[in-house]
């Protein structure tokens, strides 16, 4: 068989997983292009560099020699244009490259909602390596930072700044932290934990505008309630959106993201999209059309590799799971745990008297089959939870055997009691 040129744009977890698994399956030439960095790094670990917990070299999941050894060519360049008809890429430096198969894994960009002053110096989101560099530069010796938007990146930024002893005011539009994802009890627990770390968390507070000094550098934010909060750095962390600027106004069909079918195929032949930038035309029941999570990016990478190498495989990601860490509080979730009570399902919530550990089990109201778990400050065993949800294990059985799902370190008393 003739060797194809498979080109992947984006070296995040989705693109790299695709490259690795294509290499495992077939002998085609693989090129991974990124304008952001020469090598793959763990985006979720960017915060630890700022915190001084790791250096850049530590967050690269593979040694640099890995790529050559596995015959994966890396190209640190920016793609300026894609010609889908001619199967040709042109770069910002004027060079071009042909492809037989194109995989788009261009990731996300930070949301900016047109706030007045959002482009001042010292105002930024946190997504890329370049964002980290500017954050390092613009937070030197400052007296206060304000973060706008109560998601996972916002709380990471708060933690980062806190370790540099920079006072933080954290503006969250909702009345509970991350309450579009977390049920009330979990959200309250995280809210308390954030405040215990001396973060000035303001719920139900929105940004009106950012003001600047004569040099064009942020000097304060003004809330919709009219309060002015002096600060020298503003983190805008109100979510992300698919980064599809490259393919706008091309024959490639897009909506919010690049539209793909269940095989991650776009409307153009031999062009695939996956990870944060992809939007599923027909998402599986209970799943979002755009999934911006490390784990789903990895699963899509593995799926597309199979398809590209001649074994068409639909993206069926199985039981949902995710995790995060809010300052010192670990969070794991498995299956379906709705933020608001939902018709047809109920849940049990257990909370340790210390207010730092909690476990929620969601189950079908009628059959009592377990549907999902939220674990706060507790480590659960992924395989066991996955199996219980998959099999629809009865709530009583799950509670009786809960110890099987204990993944906490030895000598940790399994605290959950009903």
């Amino acid at each position: 068989m003739e060797v194809r040129s498979i080109v992947i744009i984006g070296n995040g977890i989705s693109g790299i997983t695709a490259a690795r698994h294509i290499r495992k399956r077939c002998d085609d030439a693989i090129t991974v292009i990124s304008a952001e960095s020469e090598h793959f790094f763990s985006r979720t670990a960017l915060m630890y560099i700022y915190m001084g917990q790791m250096k850049y070299a530590h967050i690269k999941p593979y040694e640099d020699r890995f790529w050559e050894k596995n015959r994966i060519s890396l190209r640190n360049a920016r793609v300026a244009e894609v010609d889908f008809e001619e199967r040709n890429l042109s770069f910002s430096d004027g060079s071009t490259m042909e492809y037989d198969v194109l995989i788009l894994a261009t990731g996300s960009s930070s949301n900016r909602f047109g706030w007045p002053g959002q482009d001042f110096k010292g105002v930024q989101g946190l997504y890329s390596l370049q964002n980290l560099e500017s954050m390092e530069r613009d937070t030197q010796g400052i007296g206060r930072a304000v973060i706008v938007g109560g998601g996972l990146i916002g709380i990471e930024m708060a933690e980062m700044l806190a370790t540099r002893r920079i006072p933080v005011t954290f503006l969250v539009r909702e009345e509970g932290f991350w309450n579009n994802v977390l049920p009330k009890e979990e959200s309250d627990m995280v809210t308390r934990h954030i405040r215990s770390h001396h973060i000035d968390l303001r719920l139900s507070t929105e940004l009106k505008e950012i003001t600047a000094d004569e040099g064009g550098r942020a000097r304060a934010v003004v809330t919709t309630a009219g309060e002015e909060i002096p600060c020298q750095f503003v983190g805008l962390t109100a979510g992300v959106h698919p980064n599809i600027d490259l393919v706008k106004n091309t024959p490639l069909e897009t909506d919010r993201g690049i539209l793909v079918d269940s095989f991650l195929r776009t409307n153009m032949p031999d062009v695939y999209a996956l990870g944060d930038c992809a939007q599923h035309r027909e998402p599986q029941a209970g799943r979002a059309s755009i999934e911006q999570v490390w784990y789903t990016g990895r699963i899509m990478g593995e799926t597309v590799a199979a398809t590209v190498c001649g074994e068409p495989t639909a993206y069926r990601p199985g039981i949902w799971f995710n995790s995060a860490k809010f300052f010192d509080m670990e969070y794991q979730t498995y299956g379906t745990v709705p933020a608001q009570p939902r018709q047809g399902s109920d849940s049990l919530w257990w909370e340790h008297p210390n207010g730092k550990q909690g476990l929620r089990i969601v189950f079908d109201s009628r059959t009592k089959a377990v549907l999902g778990f939220n674990a706060m400050g507790i480590r659960l065993r992924h395989t066991v939870c996955d199996q219980w949800i998959r099999e629809g294990a009865h709530l009583d059985q799950v509670i009786k055997n809960l110890k099987q799902a204990d993944f906490n370190p030895e000598f940790t008393p399994f605290a959950v009691r009903y």
Binding site: I13, S42, T44, A45, Y48, M51, G52, Q53, M54, K55, H58, I59, K60, P61, E63, R65, G143, A162, T163, R165, P167, V168, S196, H197, H198, I199, D200, P230, Y295, R298, I299, G301, E302, T303, V304, A306, T313, R316, P317, G318, F321, S323, K325, F327, D328, E330, Q332, R379, L380, R381, H382, T383, D386, R390, F407, P409, E410, F411, T412, P413
Partner: protein, 454 residues
């Protein structure tokens, strides 16, 4: 706006910390002054200043430093500080430490016999043994104090993890009791200065017929207790070690009992991130550590054969051989490089590249043990914290991100990878059998979640 209003960690120290730091500084200064002579004249005064006040101040300061901050992984700013990032301060500290070890091992008796520094430890030595201190008593006391003071610090730092708290308590207990007090008491009673926490091949002379200071013959000459000690040493090496390692992995020794591991996990804790994680280092490690094990086995066998044949093979060479081993492996490797280079090469350099006991335990762990570090399904985000803070230089995330269990000969089971993991991915476990330790682990696959790895 003042910083203090919403400041997570007080930038300065509180009064207690300042006083404690002052006490520590006074203790250190007293030690230096004593060494230049006054220690001989006023041993009591300098004992209280350098041996009691200084370490107490150090412990209070270090513990309070962590109790001030919330319980959790507190590795912030590690790489921003010169001492912990091979900066200038680290080099100065490393040179001082190395110099101390060189002086200790190879300094002439003419110096140590009359050293004023040693006199500072006389009050403690008189109390424990009834006789004045020598350089080895000084070393044992300083070593034990380092483990205790920094052990308290480690407990404060890792107080959110019961595993770390219990384990640190264990290494402090074994260092104080088994590696310091009991040998001193034995010496006071004119019994062999025997260390119940060290066995062949880490303490090879216990099973050497003659030659070493602690050889078989020497212990045996001490009568009934000596015989019992030798029996204990033999049982520990050949029976207890394989059995305990089968059930718990090598950690039962390396991270719970051994004094070398004890120092690494207490005094060395701030330097654990400096270990080399490269594939090349792993290769060097395997060659070196197994060579040392082979050498020690060969020497031991040779000495016994020689002894049986009445010295006809080696003659008096046994003495030279054992001396040479002590010089190269024990003093130069485990002492000077192993500890002196903490701030440059990280802790556990000896444990990883040189210790024959670790090699022996490692082979058992790799091929015949229930111990493994389990990866929690697909939760790994490849962040690298586990690998960065692994003192043995194991690239833990390389396994975790593939959903594989970690079964490595070198893993000492300190549990820090599991402690620093932000997503609850790693767990140290003793499985039901040794057979399933590397197999049957599910990884995430794109098509409908979990699938067993073929």
């Amino acid at each position: 706006m003042t910083h203090s209003l919403v400041n997570p960690y007080p930038a300065g120290q509180d009064a207690v910390q300042r006083i404690a730091l002052g006490a520590f500084a006074i203790g250190l200064l007293a030690l230096v002054i004593a060494a230049f002579g006054p220690g001989e004249e006023f041993p009591q005064l300098f004992f209280w200043l350098a041996v009691v006040l200084g370490p107490t101040g150090g412990a209070v300061y270090a513990v309070r430093n962590f109790l001030h901050r919330p319980a959790g992984v507190r590795n912030e700013q590690v790489w921003h500080r010169s001492l912990f990032n091979r900066g200038m301060v680290a080099w100065v500290f490393g040179i001082v430490l190395t110099g101390f070890y060189i002086a200790l091992y190879w300094g002439p008796d003419s110096y140590w016999g009359s050293a004023a520094l040693v006199r500072v430890f006389d009050p403690l030595s008189n109390l424990l043994t009834g006789s004045p201190a020598d350089r080895w008593f000084l070393y044992g006391a300083v070593y034990t104090m380092a483990v205790l003071v920094m052990g308290l610090r480690a407990i404060a730092k890792y107080r959110h993890s019961n595993y770390q708290v219990v384990r640190t308590g264990s290494i402090m207990f074994f260092q104080l009791g088994f590696a310091f007090l009991i040998p001193q008491f034995l010496k006071a009673m004119d019994r062999p200065e025997f260390y119940f926490s060290y066995f062949w091949p880490l303490k090879p002379d216990y099973l050497w017929p003659e030659g070493g200071y602690y050889s078989f013959q020497w212990i045996l000459d001490k009568g009934g207790l000596g015989l019992w000690m030798l029996l204990f040493a033999g049982v520990m090496t050949f029976i207890a070690t394989p059995v305990l390692t089968y059930f718990f992995g090598k950690r039962w020794y390396c991270s719970w009992v051994c004094g070398c591991g004890g120092l690494a996990n207490t005094a060395g804790d701030p330097f654990r991130q400096l270990s080399d994680k490269s594939l090349k280092a792993w290769k060097v490690e395997r060659w070196m550590i197994h060579s040392v094990l082979l050498i020690i086995i060969a020497i031991t066998l040779l000495l016994w054969v020689n002894s049986f044949l009445g010295g006809s093979i080696l003659g008096n060479l046994s003495h030279t051989l054992s001396k040479l081993y002590a010089f190269i492996i024990i003093q130069a490797f485990s002492g000077v490089i192993g500890v002196g280079f903490y701030p440059l090469l990280g802790t556990r350099v000896w444990c990883r590249f040189g210790c024959p006991m670790a090699a022996y335990l490692g082979i058992l762990q790799k091929y015949f043990s229930r111990f493994r570090i389990t990866t929690n399904g697909g939760q790994c985000i490849s962040c690298g914290n586990c690998s960065t803070y692994c003192e043995m230089g194991i690239d833990v995330k390389a396994y975790a991100q593939r959903g594989e269990n970690i079964v490595r000969a070198s893993c000492v089971g300190c549990g820090i990878c599991a402690t620093v993991c932000p997503r609850g991915v790693l767990k140290l476990e003793n499985g039901p059998t040794h057979r399933d330790r590397e197999v049957g682990n599910p990884i995430v696959f794109g098509n409908d979640g979990f699938r067993l790895r073929p």
